[in-house]
Symmetry: C2
């Protein structure tokens, strides 16, 4: 067969050659920007010339600090296809961690949305390699950054064609850093081969299935694991791309989903919970829309709301920065032959490994656990878009002896192939030698009509080692501990019930929209028995 | 990223791990055989052990001469995944050509359906490398082949697990020979990488889109370019696989399509024309079935019949032995915004390049022709499953200077990306310095209610160099030449009309079900003006 390297250049060329007339829509706060892939392509060529002209060497990196908008799409392609690499900076990292990632990545140019200029200013003195700041706008706001220019000036005047080099498919095209919820951010380098294959897979009917008949709205930020691959999948598949920039409030999203004819959208459960509340107002129709859900578990109750009350399709998945990210997804046949509760139990899993990803669940001795949907073990994956290590970690700490990625998640696997992520190994409550799944408790608590959100964490306990504590955000008046205990009793043994229910107005989130369990554990580690909001102080038998 | 080679082993493992309970159904003439991918997997392991045990060296080849049936599926996987290669023998080749391909391929073991034992016997004395014949059956018929055994005995007693080797993705996993319509058969070697990528692509919504919710019936023979990839796509996607063995008559196919709940089927136009006639009897329902059509052009009139009279979806495509084979296919948005005649004109094209294949249409000077849907040029493709040469042809005869495959087809390309194959460059009629498309004439003739099939070929002409001659199979009484001329007049200039209409009872087909234009040209080269069946002898002005 031909020597035809698998690169993002093929993705870009396909969008330009076949889908030049299709739209990329960005809903900025003050205006809606519309242009075509053809117009984007010309600006991508200009950007590539600008990188050449500014002396960004082949193989060097540039960084973005940006939301989901049209200039960020251009950055997703130009550096990579011109033989550089884009470090997609995580704008939600604490300042010191952000600076550390920019330094480790040795980024030469930083492209930032105007909103993130202040973020950059706070760390600019610590940045060791940055030679140029570019504000993703038509003009530069008042800033101490230097040298600085605006993006339109940066690319102005360059040719709208570019002679893309034939790249080694194993070369780096981009990198992201993990959100650092369990330690310092760790960098994952993506290769052209990995992201091309991930993109091709994303069009598979049992993956996202993004094709020429779709309009795609990624709510998941483009600064978070390549927006789960949607911008690349849309360009390759010829789908319209609809980007919300900063307009990710439920009202704006509802209006975009309905008004722009979106067929597929993607985001974390907290976004969809807020949207579900908004949809009750009846001012938007999301029937027929597919909601891809990842980053955290979406409770079966919320899945049911979307499917039964709104006529939408929910497809939960699983992934990590280390897996580019898609590893599992609810497949096309998930609803076949299962009804009622059984259906929603299945739809609350993270689906099956996607085409191209191999998976296994193993016990502590390294033996595969039975595929019974009940036995918990370590979830491990393998595939061409799965990282074999971190950029600063030559010893491949998260790999098994035989080269699989140890994901840090605990899961069950059933004989139909559905993976149910029980918990992060670090989040699990180890009570009296037995395991309690915080994810399972949260899902069940959130199925209670008076509970809007619930996060469960382990707190130290002298007798049992650890015990669960639940932080709940009530929907109206807070339910009593007895009521919640009674609610949980139908699903779990009594010793699973949290020792305390702490009522809060909101649950802290990580930079990627997940419950920040590290913060919750730290906040509640010492104050368990003294909490003013404690609703249930009894010790239970495990 | 991990070193995770792209091999057919991943396809096999996926079928076994996730889809072990799904069915592979074979409709043998005397019985229907049903088993699961899980059972198939165990026999595939046994077959791999048998190859080891019979001393078939790593990298060596075995051959199959078989129809679409369950044992052939096993052969599609075991040799490849065990580090050998399967030469899928074309059972329709003339005996001498078949022997030549088996010799060139140096096949060590030949697996043959009982029906093809006679074919093998006729050439056995000429076979230079074959050490073992295996009849794909439970017993060996009376035969002169030696040594010979039956398949069940060949694999009996071996272990049902196999430790598959980690293979180089660039290694050969199989090979096919071209059907030789324009010369001796030429061998194309497929690599694991190429067929893995082709398989992943086949699940894309804008390719076949084969997923876990499908039942797939490839009518296209498994001895013809890997049955266009359907067996691999089905196993990888978790689709039920329905195989017709020798039951490819219209009645059997209609019954299988309806009775087995088939969602996707694939074959050449002649098969679907016969099926359309049969469906008029009303004994089968094919509504909702997707018909993938390739190998030759399906006339717009027949597409319309399937879509309007039978509620089916027709997706024409284009491919070659050299392209594994899928190169273009009608995409999901083909019907958007086009109605009536315009819709069927589009649906009569071969669609857009599939994800992963790059295409271009160039004139004789190597310049890309305008994307106007009218300007004809040479169709050239590039991609990771496109061959860069033939197994016995180190000089890569069909490649352009810059490494694209010169397909030998002439095509137009429109701004929406649709490729219309006008003709094989070898089939085109060059009349008085102008080109006449035989494919366009055939399509229009077959749209006439009294014409069942039509093939147009060039015949030598003293004045014009070449002139078109049409061979028609009437549907009932043969129409007059005047009637056909009048019919064509609405679509083409008058000088396009064939100088002769020859009425026949059937049109000779190639080994792959296409009109055998070489045979027709040879048959009519000398007898143009004397044909007893001639219906129109006037010379026309070009």
């Amino acid at each position: 067969m031909m020597d035809a390297p698998l690169t993002l250049t093929r993705v870009l060329e396909r969008a330009e050659t076949l889908f030049g007339e299709r739209e990329v829509v960005t809903a900025y706060p003050d205006r809606t920007h519309r242009y075509t892939y053809g117009e984007a392509y010309e600006r991508i060529c200009r950007l590539a010339h600008a990188l050449d002209d500014h002396g960004v060497a082949s193989g060097a990196r540039v960084a973005s600090l940006a939301r989901n908008n049209h200039r960020h799409v251009e950055l997703y392609f130009a550096p990579a296809c011109a033989g550089r690499s884009l470090h997609v900076g995580n704008v939600r990292l604490p300042a010191d961690e952000l600076a550390a990632t920019l330094n480790e990545s040795a980024d030469r140019v930083v492209f930032a949305d105007p909103d993130f200029v202040e973020t950059l200013e706070a760390v600019a003195d610590d940045l060791e390699t940055v030679e140029q700041y570019v504000v993703l706008s038509e003009s530069v706001p008042e800033t101490s950054l230097s040298p600085v220019t605006d993006y339109e000036s940066f690319i102005e005047g360059y040719d709208t064609e570019y002679d893309w080099p034939e790249l080694d498919e194993e070369s780096e095209c981009g990198r992201c850093y993990t959100s650092g919820t369990t330690g310092d951010p760790k960098g994952v380098a993506y290769t052209h081969r990995g992201l091309f294959l991930h993109t091709l897979m994303n069009g598979h009917v049992d993956a996202y299935g993004v094709g020429a008949d779709d309009s795609v709205l990624p709510v998941v930020p483009m600064y978070h694991v390549n927006a789960w691959g949607f911008p690349y999948a849309a360009a390759f598949g010829g789908a319209r791309l609809v980007l919300p920039d900063a307009r990710t409030d439920p009202g704006s999203l509802a209006s975009l989903l309905d008004g722009e004819g979106v067929t597929i959208t993607a985001g974390v459960p907290t976004v969809w919970r807020a949207l579900a509340d908004h949809l009750d107002s009846g001012d938007a129709d999301v029937s027929g829309v597919t909601f891809v859900v990842g980053g955290a578990s979406m409770p079966a109750s919320l899945v049911r709301t979307f499917e039964e009350a709104h006529g939408a399709t929910v497809r939960q998945g699983w992934g990590m920065t280390e897996t580019s990210p898609l590893g599992t997804l609810m497949p096309s046949d998930a609803r076949d032959g299962v009804d009622g509760e059984e259906r929603y139990e299945r739809l609350a899993t993270v689906g099956r490994p996607v085409p191209g990803v191999s998976a296994r669940v193993r016990d502590e001795d390294g033996e595969r656990v039975p595929r019974d949907g009940e036995t918990v073990g370590r979830f491990e994956v393998r595939g061409p878009w799965v990282a074999d290590g971190y950029v600063d970690d030559a010893d491949e700490a998260d790999a098994t002896d035989d080269g699989w990625l140890s994901t840090g998640d605990l899961a069950t696997w059933d004989d139909a192939g559905y993976v149910d992520v029980v918990d992060r190994e670090d989040d699990l409550v180890k009570s009296g030698g037995e395991w309690i799944s915080t994810v399972a408790l949260e899902d069940e608590l959130m199925a209670h009509e008076a509970v809007r959100e619930a996060a469960v964490v382990a707190v130290p306990d002298e007798t049992w080692g650890e015990r669960p504590l639940a932080v709940i955000v009530p929907d109206g008046d807070a339910p009593s501990a007895d009521a919640l205990d009674a609610h949980l009793e139908s699903a779990f043994p009594s010793w699973w019930a949290p020792d305390e229910y702490v009522v809060r107005e909101e649950i802290p989130l990580t930079t990627t929209g997940k419950f920040d369990k590290r913060a919750l554990r730290e906040a509640h580690a010492d104050e368990r028995s003294e909490s003013a909001n404690s609703a249930n102080g009894d010790q239970r038998e495990p």
